[in-house]
């Protein structure tokens, strides 16, 4: 039971990291990123390929130390975000979201089809777990919780610090009124790019934290529902633009998710096979109810910066 709780906390921390990154992009900058799963996936696969022992199944087996894996998991999504940002950040609002969703689906197709690179739908096995040989397997969860929790705290401090700085005030300005912000002489495109790349790097690290915990990665984990819209749900429940709220939201939503696993024991078998869809129903209902019932918190954020400029 206690080990179950530890694994719950680890997964919650990983999702909290991804949600903090989305909060930076959406909550503070107003970028409707519907492709966050792609950056999470890039981080996961980069770290897996860099650190795995030699194999013929897919590219890599470089067997590099885990620190290199994590660095790569931040770097590759960052570079990809930078390249995508050139065309995509010229788009505003909904079209940006659609372009990112399209990019997510295309990258997912590539990972599924190019088995020389990623071993396709079979996924990558045997991804090393840090200090797994040294530590008693019974206590391994506690150890990994320190890593995941530590990374979450680092991500929280880095993001909170930066959105509280003058840099973060410009981001808020962009999300509230982009025209007004650029009229006050700020290069909005450049700031959006910095926020986009920074957030994507944090998502990549969350992906690496995930694969080094499970030791296995396959494309199924990164379908848009589980990887992208699940994180959106966390941010909506936790409160857009509220970093502490988002962390609470991550554990809360994961608790509901895991809780529906227990439900399968109590419902008839015919219903249990459709539990995935009942979860999907949950996602939809929570998302819509949050949006409908919390109009002040979510729909009309106070225009702090824009009003101050006027």
């Amino acid at each position: 039971m206690i080990s179950y709780f530890v694994s719950f906390l680890i997964m919650g921390s990983i999702y909290a990291m991804a949600a903090l990154a989305l909060n930076l992009q959406w909550g503070f900058t107003g970028l409707m990123n519907f492709g966050i799963g792609a950056f999470y996936m890039l981080g996961a696969y980069t770290s897996a390929i860099l650190t795995c022992p030699a194999t013929t199944e897919h590219l890599g087996g470089f067997g590099l130390p885990l620190v290199v894996g994590f660095a790569g998991a931040a770097l590759v999504p960052g570079v990809v975000a930078f390249l995508i940002g050139f065309p995509a950040l010229r788009l505003r609002g909904g079209t940006f979201a659609i372009a990112l969703l399209a990019i997510h689906e295309t990258l997912l197709l590539t990972v599924r089809n190019e088995s020389w690179l990623t071993n396709g739908v079979w996924g990558i096995r045997g991804i090393p777990r840090p200090f797994f040989e040294v530590i008693n397997p019974r206590h391994y969860g506690y150890f990994y919780l320190i890593i995941a929790g530590g990374l979450l705290i680092l991500a929280y401090l880095a993001i909170t610090k930066s959105v509280g700085s003058p840099w973060g005030r410009i981001l808020r300005g962009i999300s509230e009124d982009e025209d007004l912000t650029s009229m006050s002489g700020k290069n909005c495109w450049s700031y959006k790019m910095q926020s986009f790349v920074f957030g994507s790097m944090v998502m990549g690290i969350a992906g690496a934290t995930y694969v080094h915990y499970t030791g296995f990665v396959s494309p199924q984990v990164f379908n848009p529902l589980m990887s992208t819209f699940y994180v959106w749900l966390i941010v909506m429940v936790g409160g857009t633009g509220n970093n502490k709220g988002v962390i609470v939201g991550a554990f809360l939503v994961w608790a509901i998710w895991v809780g529906s696993d227990f439900l399968t024991d109590f419902v008839p078998a015919a219903v249990a096979t459709r539990i995935g869809f009942i979860r999907m129903l949950f996602v939809g209902i929570i998302l819509t109810v949050t949006i409908l019932t919390r109009p002040q918190g979510i729909l009309s954020r106070k225009r702090l910066i824009a009003d101050w400029y006027r």
Binding site: A88, T95, A99, E105, L287
Partner: protein
């Protein structure tokens, strides 16, 4: 190649039907409706439900279906319009009254999309279904083109509906009011356009189109609960490519997406084959639309027929 062109036109005409409805919603209600794809599936499945209830009515000569499917489609349109107007009354109308931003409306529609897809999955299950399992014999036309009677029916049905919508938009008072709303909502309201009725008629036209499009897709291919979600990206691409709010843009955009999805992977495969490069392109068919949307947005961010500022 000619065969691929023909199947591209048939697929494209179904996309065009949906895209015209989506572009009307995007311009008149001013948000990207992510639930539209799942309304497409729901329409097709409700037709399936009525087809089942009505029993066997026999088939029209040459076609795979008979009067039963026509009646089922009409009943399905009525039910779908009731569902869509209820959704608008209890979901989108409160959001409009909160003055929700277009991005929040999109996000809310995404929650709705999950609810609809989950309900389809729970009610009908994830199995593939068919309106008819009868095998059709293709008719030979000049230039080595082969067409099934069903496919001819789909194209004729699309042409008839598109003409009808065009006449409504061009000739009726309501159509004029709708075009005014999409051009400039503030000015339209000031000139005494009844926005409530315009919004209602927009949903009625879009709802009819999407239900028929879903049913036609069901005749041509098969019914799967996820079909609408996968159809959503080509729909959005057609709308963005044509320019948001443009009737002709959506029609031409839909055709372009349909034809290029059918042809581009085949052309690339032939090219690779002649260069003796061993590459399997068939898995990338869905990526064609994604790459197209990124290209279009790069070259003409407002679409082919789009106005500079909406």
């Amino acid at each position: 190649m000619a065969d691929l062109l023909v199947s591209g036109i048939i697929y494209g005409s179904i996309i065009a039907l949906g895209a015209i409805g989506l572009t009307l919603i995007a311009s008149i209600l001013n948000f990207f409706n992510f639930a539209y794809g799942d309304l497409f599936s729901l329409g097709a499945f409700i037709t399936f439900l009525f087809l089942d209830l009505l029993g066997d009515w026999g088939a029209f000569p040459g076609l795979s279906f008979g009067g039963g499917l026509v009646v089922a489609t009409l009943l399905s349109v009525l039910i779908m319009l009731a569902i869509i107007l209820l959704i608008d009354r209890f979901f989108f109308k409160p959001l409009r009254e909160f003055d929700a931003t277009p991005l929040f409306m999109s996000l809310a529609s995404l929650g709705l999309a999950f609810i609809l897809r989950a309900i389809i999955n729970i009610v009908w299950g994830p199995e593939i279904r068919y309106y008819s399992t009868a095998i059709q014999i293709s008719k030979k036309l000049p230039f080595g083109i082969r067409v099934k009677p069903d496919e001819l029916f789909i194209v004729i049905c699309t042409l008839a509906l598109v003409t009808l919508v065009y006449l409504i938009l061009k000739k009726t008072r309501m159509g004029k009011a709708m075009r005014a709303m999409s051009d400039n909502p503030v000015l339209a309201k000031a000139s005494g356009v009844e926005t409530v009725r315009v919004i209602m008629w927009t949903w009625i036209i879009a709802g009819t189109l999407i239900t028929v499009a879903g049913t036609l897709y069901g005749i041509q291919v098969q019914l799967r609960p996820t079909m609408g979600w996968h159809f959503l990206i080509p729909l959005f691409v057609a709308v963005i490519m044509g320019g948001i709010g443009s009737f002709w843009g959506a029609l031409i955009g839909g055709m372009v997406i349909g034809i290029s999805e059918e042809m581009i992977t085949a052309v690339l495969q032939n090219a690779f084959h002649s260069m003796q490069i061993d590459a399997d392109m068939s898995g990338y068919k869905p990526a064609v639309a994604f790459v197209l949307v990124v290209l279009i947005l790069l070259i003409k961010p407002h679409g082919i027929f789009g106005k500079k500022e909406h």
